[in-house]
Symmetry: C2
Subunit: 415 residues, 2 copies
């Protein structure tokens, strides 16, 4: 099987021309659901799927599927699917998403040209709004496809201007009516850029992901008392910022300790607000948004527990009131052993150095892993940069990882 | 000498009617420099000064002076002055400022009615924009009168809408041309509400302030590195919020330690901003605004030094970059011994329990203490509340403190 590097490069560069942005360095794009760039990106992708002889369907939230049903296969067998997404963050890069979608299409074309005769249908998929750039809900399309979010809830989501997903999809002509259920797929494989430096550090051509970390988000509130910063003696204060500072350090320490046994464990207070936030008033309230991740759900639970312990201590020692709300909890996802085995064998067959690793970022594959056997491959990212016009993967590296993707799917679809 | 409680009450309540605000609890007002309320407040005050036979002058920044030159005095002798301010913070109270200005006028009337024959002229003063509510510069009028800020700089100050102090004063007819130099005063005494609970706690009728704390403001910046909150391991982070949290606790600890020897010492991080302030990004930069006060300038210096030490340690231990800019340093002010003695004697003569204390809030008197002998008296504040419609001092308490004020000035002006 031969991957046509030039054809893949042309597909990615022509796709990148839609929604392209000015950048001092690199090549960037903005493709948000329902924009004119999104319409163009989708229409071109459908054209290319059809040019490869695939049967295209679009579901209610604009997910696009192209099925290859060669004579060798049992058309009623559960298909093997692969793909990714085509949307971007604002001023994002040109590989995050498109490499996996056009890589899957290139994989089909490579199989066709090599005379591969799969026993199962092969499905190429592009999921809507993976980035959450328009509606703030990441992995939106795959959440609906896998039943995690209802179609009606999704279509009623509103962007910052009050425009719904339904309106956006209708405007660009991608409010489809086809029903495609990934739970009926035999397996799923996604190729994505790493967005990290482990592959380049190890000089590996492909990453074989064994798990995707779960994410827990919490909102923490620490409430003290607003007082005059001059006339309130230190011993009479209930300073919410000082208390919250102890909490931030407790969270950091707990995450560092748990990371000694589970390296993927991280805990971050990334967002915070102070009230009244005036130089001469003792802070009355601090609210923090936490992001807690690990490949072990239990570690995440322990980290949240450590947060509760810290807050209880602050209530006792500092007279503040506190609250913690764990408003999101996405458990970690394990990739299927047979997908891992197929990917390892594919890399070996194509003489590509493969590195086993976990993904700390969310991907559509996390949703798919809940309903079918799933695999996730990474291509190297230069300097680990993503979500930026400086995001880059060399064309040869794109082709190498796409070759492993195609071989993995060929193998999974062969029986 | 008899203070007319009813007349004082009427003066304060009629003054409070200008700029009055709706409040669920209490009585509030908003009087910002140059507003229609400010015009009314000023015009009424001038009327009342003239009704008492005082000779009114208005200087270039709208400070209002009313001089009583009775036959008993040497008109060329250095006058004894007293007063306060008439502006308010937005939605402020009705005593903060007006008690001292109308209290001084009531003091003159009481002296006149009691046949007091001072050896020196007696001056009543109301300073412009003590609160900084319009231009963000506190004690503006007294800063100009005492030469700390030039007239031209002050008149060129712009409010949030780009309107200058000059425009505001011209509009309300208080851009005066009289020159009054407090450095030529023999002494100055201000009566103000306490804005604290020490007087009510001690059941004292008047506070005799011995010093006004100095204020140092610093801006601190802690710069780490923005990283993905999922894919950046704990040990690879340079988290600006975690580092800033250590700093906040260091500042708190240092202030607590210094407060064991200098009770007035306080250090507050009241305002902070986080960049980029996103839940899933390790914080790249935190900026904090510090407020450091004490009655000893050396303690303030030591507290700033402790801040520098903390930041240097964070640079070494956490790999962050830091900076600290001490952009304001107003030294503490001592009240003159002869003013303190006159106030103590006045309280004793009127059988009022007096409490010696310091002021942790800034007052015009801090500027006046730099150019003449100054004294500051406090009246009790219910629950210590100020800058709020809930600010309250009972009318009898107003009269009691005004009696001590009048007696203090009578004594100072007697030779």
């Amino acid at each position: 099987m031969n991957i046509d590097t030039e054809r893949l490069r042309r597909d990615l560069q022509e796709n990148a021309a839609f929604g392209d942005v000015d950048a001092d360095e690199g090549v960037g794009r903005t493709v948000l659901t329902g924009s004119e760039a999104d319409r163009a990106v989708r229409e071109r992708f459908v054209d290319r799927l059809e040019a490869a002889g695939l049967d295209v369907r679009v579901d209610a939230v604009g997910n696009i599927f192209g099925r290859w049903t060669p004579p060798s296969c049992d058309p009623s067998a559960a298909p093997v699917a692969f793909g990714s997404h085509l949307d971007s963050v604002p001023r994002g890069g040109i590989f995050d998403g498109p490499l996996g979608t056009y890589g899957a299409l290139e994989g089909v074309r490579a199989m066709q040209e090599a005379g591969v005769a799969p026993a199962r249908p092969v499905e190429v998929a592009s999921f809507t709004e993976e980035e959450g750039g328009r509606f703030g809900v990441g992995t939106l399309g795959s959440s609906v496809a896998t039943g995690k979010l209802s179609v009606d809830e999704a279509l009623a989501l509103e962007d910052d201007d009050g425009v719904t997903l339904r309106d956006h999809l209708e405007r660009v002509g991608f409010a489809g009516s086809d029903a495609v259920d990934p739970a009926e797929w035999d397996a799923w494989v996604e190729l994505h850029i790493e967005q990290g430096t482990r592959l380049t550090g190890a000089n590996a051509g492909v990453g074989v992901v064994d798990s995707i970390t779960g994410i827990t988000n919490c909102e923490v509130a620490v409430t003290g008392e607003a007082d005059h910063a001059g006339s309130t003696p230190m011993y009479e204060r209930s300073d919410a910022l000082a208390a919250a500072s102890e909490f931030v350090l407790d969270l950091e320490r707990a995450a560092e300790e748990l990371a000694t046994t589970s390296e993927a464990a991280v805990g971050t207070a990334g967002r915070g607000t102070i009230e009244p936030n005036a130089r001469n008033i003792v802070p009355a309230e601090v609210r923090l948004q936490l992001d807690i991740r690990d490949v072990e759900h239990e570690t995440m639970d322990r980290l949240v527990e450590r947060c509760r312990t810290s807050l209880a201590r602050l209530e006792r020692n500092r007279g503040v009131e506190t609250s913690i709300s764990r408003y999101r909890d996405s458990p970690p996802s394990r990739m299927a052993d047979r997908c891992l085995a197929a990917a390892d064998a594919a890399a070996a067959a194509r003489s590509v150095d493969a590195l086993r690793l976990h993904s700390a970022a969310m991907h559509d594959t996390a949703n798919l892993a809940a309903v079918t056997d799933a695999g996730l491959l990474f291509a190297p990212s230069r300097d680990g940069v993503s979500h930026s016009p400086r995001e880059w993967t060399d064309w040869d590296d794109c082709a190498t990882a796409t070759g492993v993707l195609a071989e993995t799917v060929r193998s999974l679809a062969s029986d």
